[in-house]
Symmetry: C2
Subunit: 393 residues, 2 copies
């Protein structure tokens, strides 16, 4: 069925249990669904835009309060909405990095951090991970020393993912930030996989910047996200235009250079806003989410030859699993080859795994009910058994 | 009525004739409304994202074809979707401007062009306008000479608005681009007020970059837009990442630095796509739109003391009018002061003018039926007459 022209109706989250690693935290709430229908049109939040003509000053709908709420949500001083976490990275990179500056990321950093630094011609250096795939304060300290020797100065910025996108492992945020600050290196906390699904306290961690993703973890449409900072850095990353033009002597008010003026003028912002009361509440139930994830991870571990590559026990609902010794062994002789697996999942109403993937893959159980988690756990076990793999009870 | 939490239902375009200067070209089509309901969730267009994992390669929904359609729509070689026209300006500024470089805009340029240049520490110089508020090729040539003398080199880039946001006047695109090219200055065509509402032929004009706004003129949700270019410049503005990290030796495929990887991963893109067949068709009816605008402009001109500040006859549906000598005179003694005007419009079901504005204001008749245009024209005349202004028949 088409919803418009050549575009198929999308009903994956209505018809299936979706375990796509990047999609589950960005499903809209019912309130967001209603709000985006009312605010679909282009500049829909701008009806009541008055002087000084900036998004975060709009009172109706209450965009102004929402900005205060966002800052307080992650316990920082000031926040802006941005078209995706990556645009938050970009704004901070613009404010801190000059060509040739050393900039730290980690061995598990997301590619958008790399692009933000590359865009400013910064020189990227990675903090290595331990054998168990964790970024530690010791490794960070060593790398800072090494980079400082190489460049004869400290890195200008550190991008740090609390939980990384590859393994969903928890890294030593507090420890690393403490070390970085000993060298006066400001730290950008990448909360794409945390802000909106678990409690995040920026000041308590010591973060200089907290970036969140609306479409990844705040039940909002794409592209959306947030960038929050302290009063110490706000003037730098949210600096306003200082141009006075040569002919007309025009000036441009309090438009922020790094934000490119207003950022989310319609459906994306209203989606974030409508979901926000639910998002603020749901972060308090992270333990329940982890319990659901555990059911599924334990089921996978009970299948002979299956290795959970993420740290165990799990501290996040995103998990990376290696089934080369189990489902991929089946694929070698199955008439559907590697597609037997996604196909068997599909028959059971489970979606979100790349068709054909049977070696290393990721899944995310965020947002499930416990029955759905049990159903998914049973499905993995059943598929294993049906295909002759040994499953420990 | 609330649609969610503290957010009022928005029904301005259902309940009123909206003449807001920036909103009328961004109202969704019915197909876009349907599509955004199906694709509201965060990463909704990414269900079938496969290698090489980039937005413009997705086949279902047909994002790949849409990119080709967009390029062809403005007669350029290659196009990308971006989170608003401003992000297109930013990407081009990033690729062309180094600190201290002279960059040309015009006396009527939009503030987002200024921010894009300021973000790269370019030095802004304005091409003046004529007394009748037009940017001409002669003025452009003089300014290029002047800037070249000042900086001992040509400007590195020229931002040119076909129709400006202040007056909706038509500037000599072809002539200016020809002059700029004589000095080897690449030209960015800002089509925020053209692409999606009237035919735009980038190559015929000689534009190096064509930028359009989804939420301003392509019946799409915010933030959305497009950036198109020629094969000559595509490699520069859409350059892919070249980083290989020092510890893990990771590389990042064909992600584009200036785009920050993928840009519109959900509702914004699907809105653009669903509206596109209608948008492609509607640009052919620009003359009809102008005829509607004419009815309204002529009505305003028939009110004693009213001055059309935009060029006349109008070549765009966006018009700037000075009613200091008419409606503002009424406001001096009216018990509602300046609010009498927006209030009288509101009573007649007309929205989009800032309450209290009676001196210089703008309106846009785009997308009206001819009956609506006649109704609006009659409303202006009636309000004038009721308040004792002389209206010429």
């Amino acid at each position: 069925m088409k919803c418009a022209g050549t575009i198929d109706v999308r009903d994956i989250d209505e018809s299936s249990i979706n375990i796509d690693p990047i999609q589950v935290g960005g499903r809209l709430t019912a309130d967001a669904m209603k709000a985006i229908i009312a605010y679909g049109d282009g500049y829909s939040v701008c009806d009541q835009c008055r002087k000084p003509f900036r998004l975060d000053y709009i009172k109706t709908p209450p965009v102004d309060h929402f900005h205060l709420d966002l800052a307080s949500f992650v316990n920082m001083d000031i926040a802006r909405v941005v078209p995706g976490a990556r645009r938050g990275f970009q704004a901070v990179a613009d404010a801190f990095i000059s060509p040739g500056d050393p900039v730290l990321i980690t061995a598990l950093s997301h590619y958008t951090e790399v692009l933000a630094i590359e865009g400013r011609a910064g020189v990227i250096r990675e903090i290595p991970k331990t054998e168990s795939t964790i970024i530690t304060a010791d490794l960070a300290a060593n790398k800072i020393e090494e980079v400082t020797r190489e460049f004869h100065r400290s890195p200008v910025l550190l991008f740090l993912d609390h939980f990384d996108y590859q393994y969903g492992n928890c890294h030593d945020l507090g420890g690393i930030i403490k070390v970085a600050h000993q060298y006066d290196i400001p730290v950008l906390y990448n909360g794409a996989y945390t802000v909106g699904i678990m409690p995040v306290d920026g000041k308590n961690m010591g973060a200089d910047f907290v970036v969140g993703s609306g479409h990844k973890s705040m039940a909002a449409p794409a592209p959306s996200g947030m960038l929050a900072t302290t009063s110490e850095w706000a003037g730098r990353v949210f600096r306003t235009t200082g141009v006075k033009t040569d002919v007309t002597a025009r000036t441009f008010g309090i438009k922020e250079i790094g934000m490119m003026g207003c950022t989310l003028m319609g459906v994306t912002l209203i989606g974030m806003m409508a979901s926000f009361p639910h998002v603020r509440e749901r972060v308090n139930h992270w333990e329940r989410e982890l319990a659901n994830g555990r059911k599924v991870v334990d089921a996978l571990r009970s299948i002979e030859g299956t290795i959970i590559q993420s740290e165990y026990p799990r501290k996040h609902t995103l998990t990376r699993v290696d089934t080369t010794g189990s489902f991929d062994r089946v694929a070698q002789t199955h008439k559907k080859r590697g597609f037997f697996f996604s196909s068997a999942l599909k028959e059971r109403g489970i979606a979100g795994i790349i068709p054909g993937a049977t070696k290393v893959w990721k899944f995310n159980t965020y947002g499930m009910t416990s029955s759905q988690a049990e159903y998914l756990a049973a499905a993995f076990r059943d598929i294993a058994r049906e295909n002759g793999l040994i499953v420990t009870e």
